[in-house]
């Protein structure tokens, strides 16, 4: 049979960000996919040479447009480890609260986009409607909807008042109720299952060997969650990685759905265990010579920051490895054998964040 080459992207209705896939198809079946990246490279890592290590927090927040808080937490933790700064317990717990709120709104955003990818527009609107409450919490407590900018080296620079905590608890109760109302639709609806079950299967062995991260890995049955390392305030919280075993798009969406509920629970736990105390430790001097390797769990998976200090206020090297970068090889293993119409669903199932990947 003759092979046809179909370009997918960089501009495609289903993709929020530009990535190009060259699809080699025979009839309607994809035989090979070749990716091309590099449309939104911004050179953020290089900025570490001209911005001092405090200013780099704001740069790191802008690596990703969705999970700004977790990037900033990862960078701050790396610098704090290098400078041996002890972060106050209250600041650690506040970081957990905002991180989990970010995970909740990122997953809700993805669930909406995923529903949109297989043509379920009204489900997309329902998820985004629920998400607005989380965005309001972010805006009211930090001053901005997405780029919250509350991290400083040594802690945080915003606090939650008792009134705000009561309001947040009320709001996340409503969010949980509204999310649960959509549970049956995203997990059991006939039309949703027809587009997701058995599509883009990634076996447990392949997921591990190809270095998948986050929900893509957990959807294939590997219980790996960087939060289990117990960084920050996570060591005091009670939770387990969410795992599904079927390894298809349904499993990945179910992992994200259950993680949304888990994150809401973690916000409650963190608020219950929020200690009194200072917000930020005092930081003096510059990062000394040395290297630090920091791993945190982003909504999309494991995010890695490598930092090399040289004793001045600038860093020698800042290297960021984002989860989407790790999830591209598994994506290329999922695509061969699928139908052309399923490509958007499979590509979206890894939750691609291209501006993260290219930085």
């Amino acid at each position: 049979m003759a092979t046809t080459v179909i370009p997918f992207g960089p501009q495609h209705p289903v993709l929020p960000e530009p990535v190009h896939l060259t699809l080699k198809v025979e009839d309607e079946i994809v035989k090979e996919a070749i990716p091309a990246l590099g449309y939104v490279h911004r050179g953020l890592e290089k900025l570490a040479e001209i911005r001092d290590y405090h200013q780099m927090i704001q740069v790191c927040e802008r690596v990703c447009g969705i999970c700004s808080m977790i990037h900033a937490v990862c960078y701050s933790q790396a610098i704090e480890e290098l400078m041996e700064v002890e972060v106050p317990k209250r600041a650690e717990m506040l970081r957990v609260i905002w991180s989990e709120l970010h995970r909740t709104h990122s997953h809700l955003l993805w669930l909406g986009l995923f529903a949109d990818a297989f043509g379920f527009e009204s489900l997309f609107m329902q998820f985004w409607k629920v998400r607005e409450r989380i965005m309001d919490i972010n805006e009211a407590t930090t001053g901005s909807r997405v780029i919250v900018s509350v991290n400083v080296i040594g802690g945080v620079r915003a606090d939650l008042s008792p009134e705000q905590i009561r309001w947040i608890l009320g709001e996340i109760d409503i969010v949980e109720k509204e999310v649960r109302a959509l549970q049956d639709t995203i997990m059991n609806d006939y039309t949703v299952k027809a587009r997701t079950v058995g599509v883009g299967v990634l076996s447990k062995e392949n997921a591990y060997l190809l270095g998948a991260a986050g929900p893509t890995l957990r959807g294939s049955g590997v219980a790996q969650d960087m939060r289990m390392l117990g960084y920050g305030g996570y060591s005091e919280l009670d939770f387990e990685p969410v795992v599904e075993t079927s390894g298809d798009c349904w499993a990945r969406s179910t992992v994200r759905f259950r993680e949304t509920l888990q994150s809401i629970d973690l916000v409650r736990q963190a608020i219950a265990k929020l200690p009194e105390g200072e917000l930020a430790a005092k930081v003096k001097g510059n990062p000394p010579e040395g290297e630090v390797y920091m791993r945190v769990e982003q909504p999309r998976g494991e995010c890695v920051y490598y930092i090399k200090g040289n004793g001045t206020k600038h860093l020698d090297r800042l290297r960021i490895r984002t989860p989407t970068f790790a999830n591209i090889p598994p994506l290329l293993a999922m695509l061969p054998g699928c139908e052309l119409a399923d490509v958007p669903v499979i590509v979206l199932a890894i939750d691609p964040c291209i501006s993260c990947t290219e930085r």
Partner: protein, 146 residues
């Protein structure tokens, strides 16, 4: 079929969205919106310019000029938090879209050198009073084209 209860609920409820330009949501008090400066309280120390992550603020101590590129500002609020005299503030609404590229430039009274302050004291007292009347008007007019 499993989505039907949600559809029925949505039919019976009022719309989830606002008619935006006509109905505007109350802003949250802590929102980091448009940045502005109370130039009379500014001592031109330059802390904001040094701390700014996007390097959008410039301070000229000798001429008493404070300028900010609102298109480069990332609204992080670090300048406001680190200002020693707390003369920087942020409105609780975002900046409206602009059709022209502008530069915020504010002119204030530059601080006097300490040693000469005692000698020039009689003159210095007379000058600021005359300037004060102009300052209020000049603030709006200071938005110059770049």
């Amino acid at each position: 079929m499993l989505f039907t209860p949600t559809v029925i609920k949505n039919l019976l409820k009022k719309p989830a969205t606002r008619l935006y330009p006509f109905t505007v949501r109350e802003p949250f008090p802590n929102y980091r919106g448009e940045l502005y400066i109370d130039i009379d309280a500014c001592i031109f120390c330059g802390t904001c310019a040094r701390k700014c992550p996007s390097q959008c603020i410039e301070v000229d101590k000798e001429q008493g000029l404070w300028s900010c590129d609102p298109h480069a500002c990332v609204y992080c609020g670090i300048c406001r938090d680190t200002c020693p005299t707390k003369c920087l503030h942020m409105k609780d609404v975002h900046r409206k879209p602009m059709t022209e590229r502008i530069m915020m430039v504010e002119k204030g009274e530059p601080p006097k050198p300490k040693k000469k302050a005692a000698e020039a004291a009689p003159k210095a007292e007379a000058e600021p009073k005359a300037d004060d009347a102009d300052k209020g008007e000049s603030k709006k007019a200071d938005a110059k084209k770049k």
